[in-house]
């Protein structure tokens, strides 16, 4: 199946039996009251504990197993402890973001090992964490069957009865279509250091549908897996050997993973400058097509004029010169899209040999959004930067990002490890006649391990 354009329609709609349910009107209205500003205030309140290496106060009522505490309180008829729950949800936005990158890293490792079932499973959980992080950043806490909405006064309201996966998808879908969601998701991406929404606003065309389109496309696994129990069970509980064609192709796996990392080179302040400019370009192509009824390829002169006009209004501050931006956006340079975007736009009705890479691609894009919304939250709450140094210093004990020596500063220096690993592995698959998974891990386990530590993307993306 050839890759499709990122923002085009899906080739096939999910079967009618798998059409998602809807939240009822009361639940939707409640979700609309979710307040990002309350989350920001809660995050400011809890920062004092970060110096001691704690995310939350030792007295926080929900410290430990929040889900169990919520269930127990519910059974005893106790209401939420508003301030504590708000603080929990606020820090969970950051924690889910980091965990999501961890899951994706393990998915990539499984992909490189050739275990596509595990890769698919873990990549799905990265997507779920992305959804939970985005929602938490915007005032919605996802738990087990009792979820919470934090309103503008910092009061917590329950939404009952929906399971985690189902609620996460429905809430995310609804959020993406809301005015707050449009703003939050489009401002999560910063091409050239400028929020995407500002680019699009200057392009003089409607753009409110884009965030919904992204979530529908990149969240397709969430929608199917949350609501299609058979599908989820096939991957999670059935023997992988019976359901997924394999073993995976190690060359394809390495190239796919290296291709993902090529989109991740951090800017001077971290972020995802490479990926973000591709996303911008796709958005502009789509908007031009909607506005003029022709693609940029069919009307190149007109498109170039629109780009030129846009770059007069928007002056990118980082990454490339105006001339380079013009060449890039009009596809005079780097005209092709990265294969990851095509993989993300492709899904099959059944699980197949390419499924894991497609889910990894979508998870990566959702994690990009989650990281952007978490970063916005942190930068608004802490204009002079959050004090997360104790947590960062502790990372070397649980993630192989750096050794016992000093933590590198700036953290973007960690990029050079990825460059070396990507280059050497790419050379290996090119020059090795009979490349196998065993060969990869017996000869280059250290390089493969580097490519599995996507936790560094959390650090760059949050500009720590």
């Amino acid at each position: 199946m050839p890759p499709r354009q990122l923002l085009g329609r899906a080739r096939r709609r999910p079967p009618a039996a798998h059409q998602p349910k809807r939240l009822n009107q009361q639940q939707q209205q409640l979700l609309h009251t979710a307040s990002r500003s309350s989350v920001k205030e809660a995050l400011e309140a809890v920062e004092v504990h970060w110096k001691s290496g704690l995310w939350l106060s030792p007295q926080n009522h929900y410290r430990g197993d929040a889900t169990e505490r919520i269930a127990r309180d519910g059974a005893m008829g106790r209401g939420p402890v508003h301030a504590h729950l708000s603080e929990y949800v606020a820090v969970s936005a950051i924690a889910h973001c980091y965990d999501g990158w961890s899951f994706l890293g393990r998915a990539i490792e499984a992909e490189l090992v050739g275990d596509m079932g595990t890769a698919l499973h873990l990549a799905y959980y990265a997507e779920l964490r992305a959804a939970m992080s985005i929602l938490a950043s915007n005032g919605v806490g996802v738990f087990k069957r009792k979820h919470v909405v934090i309103d503008v006064r910092g009061r917590c309201h329950w939404i009952d009865s929906l399971p985690t996966h189902e609620f996460a998808w429905l809430a995310l879908e609804g959020f993406a279509a809301s005015q707050n969601g449009v703003r939050a998701l489009l401002n999560a991406v910063h091409p050239g250091g400028i929020p995407l929404e500002e680019w699009l606003r200057q392009y003089s065309s409607g753009y409110n549908y884009l965030s919904s389109q992204w979530i529908r496309q990149w969240g397709v696994d969430l929608s199917r897996w949350a609501l299609d129990r058979d599908f989820r069970n096939t991957v999670s509980y059935r023997p992988s050997q019976f359901s997924i064609l394999g073993p995976g192709d190690v060359r394809g796996a390495v190239r796919s993973v290296v291709g993902l990392w090529l989109l991740c080179e951090p800017g001077s302040s971290g972020g995802f400058p490479v990926l973000d400019r591709y996303l911008l370009r796709e958005c502009l192509d789509q908007m031009f097509r909607n506005q003029h009824g022709r693609s940029p390829k069919q009307a190149p002169a007109r498109f170039r004029r629109s780009i030129s006009s846009l770059l007069t209004a928007v002056v990118p501050t980082a990454g490339m010169s105006v001339e380079q931006w013009e060449a890039f956006l009009s596809r005079t340079s780097e005209g092709s899209n990265p294969s990851l975007l095509g993989q993300a736009a492709t899904y099959g009705v059944r699980v197949g040999p390419d499924s894991s890479r497609q889910v990894i691609s979508r998870a990566f894009l959702l994690m990009r959004l989650a990281t952007g919304t978490a970063w916005e939250l942190l930068s608004q709450a802490f204009p002079t930067g959050p004090d997360l140094e104790p947590w960062l210093l502790g990372l070397s004990n649980c993630r192989p990002l750096w050794g016992s020596e000093e933590m590198p500063r700036p953290l973007t220096d960690l990029w050079t490890d990825v460059v070396d690993a990507s280059h050497d592995l790419a050379q290996w698959v090119t020059n090795t006649e009979h490349a196998t998974h065993h060969g990869l891990w017996s000869q280059h386990a250290d390089l493969a391990a580097v490519l599995g530590t996507t936790e560094r993307l959390a650090l760059w993306g949050l500009n720590l």
Partner: protein, 528 residues
């Protein structure tokens, strides 16, 4: 009532309980404008050949233009002026906070403002740019309404450039309202006025005003467009060149305002290093980050990161006294930034790189010979120019991220600690605004070459650097011990390892260079 000498002294006395504002008449007209197609039927009547400037209390202007404090007994907080204008309350709130607290304090949350931790970020919130208005005449109609005679604002021209603007009786009183159409319409600046409608301000907080009289509607829309939409946004990097002092302002650093300058400036410098024919890296930077050039050309992004870590940093860390020549206060007193323009900064980097290339070309050490004999010149021929593999090429640290980073660090740090001796403040600002980027950089290179001390010091540093073994761990003819040492320069840990070894190498050379290296190592707390 009029205190100006001369032009206004003869004017008639204003009624009691009204106010007359002294104004300046500003004549702006060119003969070419007579050819404009004036068409009153399309709201493009020929305007007066001048406008007025004066200042007025914000609260008074607000009343005169129909922008009122919201009360429960009013349906709308602004009278319809006949011009469809949208008001964004959030923008006015932002302006109101800015006036009270200045930037960046105004953008902090309530909690942050209350915490006192950032008290030193409070600054004045001046509004020096003029509100642009139109003063309606007795015959001007808007949606069928006119200004009541008693509500008209009158303007009387005096001799010379002076005029007097007389406000309606009672207009300066709190709560005054026009009985029909407000006598002033706002062309640009309505959000500033809305900000004053919501908050308590002293009655004498004044705003500068540019006032047209009887300006037709179409010209008002045109003015709004040329003020707000047409102008190209100023490049933030350029702003920091126009006001170099901004680079050293601590409040900007606290809220990452400098990031805007630093990132933009870093990219511009890399672009110029790639594009300028005299640059040693002319067309030898991987500007698009394309695959396949690893070990030959460093990417643009890596160059940007390295410049930000070296020349354009503010400080190494809170504890270190070593700052960036282009980003921090320089000199023993740390009181001034270097007023070097972008062209000057580029010239400095080009000179430093050229000195290194020349010094390496002269060395005949084993490491250089090994690289030269190992590489085929054709691989390094670009634009008809062959490159010395000992300066640029495969298996050479100077063609890798770590090598460029350490080179930039070294030049920056050593020059930084010798800033006074080198008289860095005595040079710079050689930009000729009429020339191209290439021309401006050429002028700066020429000027820098004539300096007494800077070129000589860069030559000395380059000669010592050229005696360092720049082979990468994959380099030719390395002993096992050498290869193991150089393996430590790979990866993220390699930056510090290489920097330490290069500084030690410089320190051991003695002389002016050795002394500077010692100072840097002490400042960074590196073991000798």
């Amino acid at each position: 009532m009029l205190v100006q000498k001369g032009g206004l002294a003869h004017m008639r006395t204003a009624p009691a309980n009204s106010k007359t504002l002294p104004a300046i008449k500003v004549r702006q007209w060119l003969d070419e404008w007579d050819d404009v197609e004036w068409d009153p039927a399309r709201h493009r009547a020929r305007p007066l050949e001048w406008f007025y400037q004066f200042s007025i209390p914000a609260t008074t202007l607000r009343s005169l233009s129909g922008i009122y404090r919201r009360t429960t007994d009013r349906k709308r907080a602004a009278d319809d002026l006949g011009i469809q204008r949208r008001h964004e309350p959030s923008r006015s709130s932002d302006i109101g906070r800015f006036v009270r607290y200045g930037y960046p304090w105004s953008e902090l949350s309530e909690a942050k403002r209350a915490s006192d931790e950032l008290r030193d970020l409070r600054q004045p919130g001046w509004l020096p740019t003029a509100i642009v208005v139109n003063i309606l005449g007795p015959n001007d109609t808007r949606r069928g309404r006119t200004v009541a005679p008693q509500d008209l604002v009158s303007v009387e021209d005096g001799t010379g450039p002076y005029a007097a603007v007389t406000l309606p009786v009672g207009a300066i009183s709190p709560g005054w309202r026009p009985s029909r159409l407000p006598p002033i319409e706002i062309i640009d600046g309505q959000h500033r006025l809305w900000a004053f409608s919501e908050l308590d301000f002293t009655e004498d907080f004044e705003l500068p005003v540019v006032a047209f009289r009887g300006l037709d509607l179409s010209w008002q829309a045109y003015l709004f467009y040329t003020i707000n939409i047409k102008p190209k946004r100023i490049n933030p990097s350029l702003a920091f060149d126009l006001y170099p002092m901004l680079r050293g302002e601590s409040w900007l650093n606290r809220v990452d305002g400098h990031i805007i300058y630093r990132e933009a400036r870093a990219q511009e410098l890399v672009d110029l290093l790639w594009a300028h024919p005299k640059s040693p890296w002319f067309h030898r930077i991987n500007m698009l980050g394309e695959a396949g050039y690893k070990g030959q050309f460093v990417t643009q992004a890596a160059w940007v990161r390295s410049l930000l870590a070296s020349f354009i940093k503010s400080w190494e860390s809170r504890r270190s006294p070593v700052g960036g020549l282009f980003g921090s206060l320089v000199g023993s007193n740390h009181s001034m930034v270097l007023p070097w323009s972008r062209a000057d900064q580029t010239a400095f980097l080009i000179l430093a790189g050229s000195k290194l290339r020349e010094a390496i070309a002269e060395v005949d050490l084993p490491w250089a010979r090994a690289l030269r004999s190992d590489n085929q010149p054709s691989l390094l021929e670009i634009d008809g120019r062959s490159e010395d593999p000992a300066f640029l090429g495969p298996n050479n640290l100077l063609s890798q991220d770590q090598g460029i980073r350490v080179f930039l660090h070294t030049i920056n740090d050593l020059c930084y600690v010798r800033a006074d001796e080198l008289d860095l403040h005595g040079w710079g600002n050689t930009e000729n605004p009429e020339e191209t980027d290439e021309g401006r950089v050429n002028a700066s290179i020429t000027s820098l070459g004539r300096q007494r001390k800077i070129p000589g010091f860069l030559t000395k540093v380059a000669r010592v650097l050229a005696s360092f073994d720049w082979r990468a761990s994959s380099g030719p003819e390395l002993t096992r011990q050498e290869a193991a040492l150089k393996a430590g320069y790979r990866g993220s840990g390699g930056y510090k390892a290489l920097r330490t070894d290069v500084l030690r190498h410089l320190s051991h050379s003695g002389g002016e260079v050795g002394v500077a290296a010692d100072v840097v190592m002490n400042g960074l707390k590196y073991a000798p």
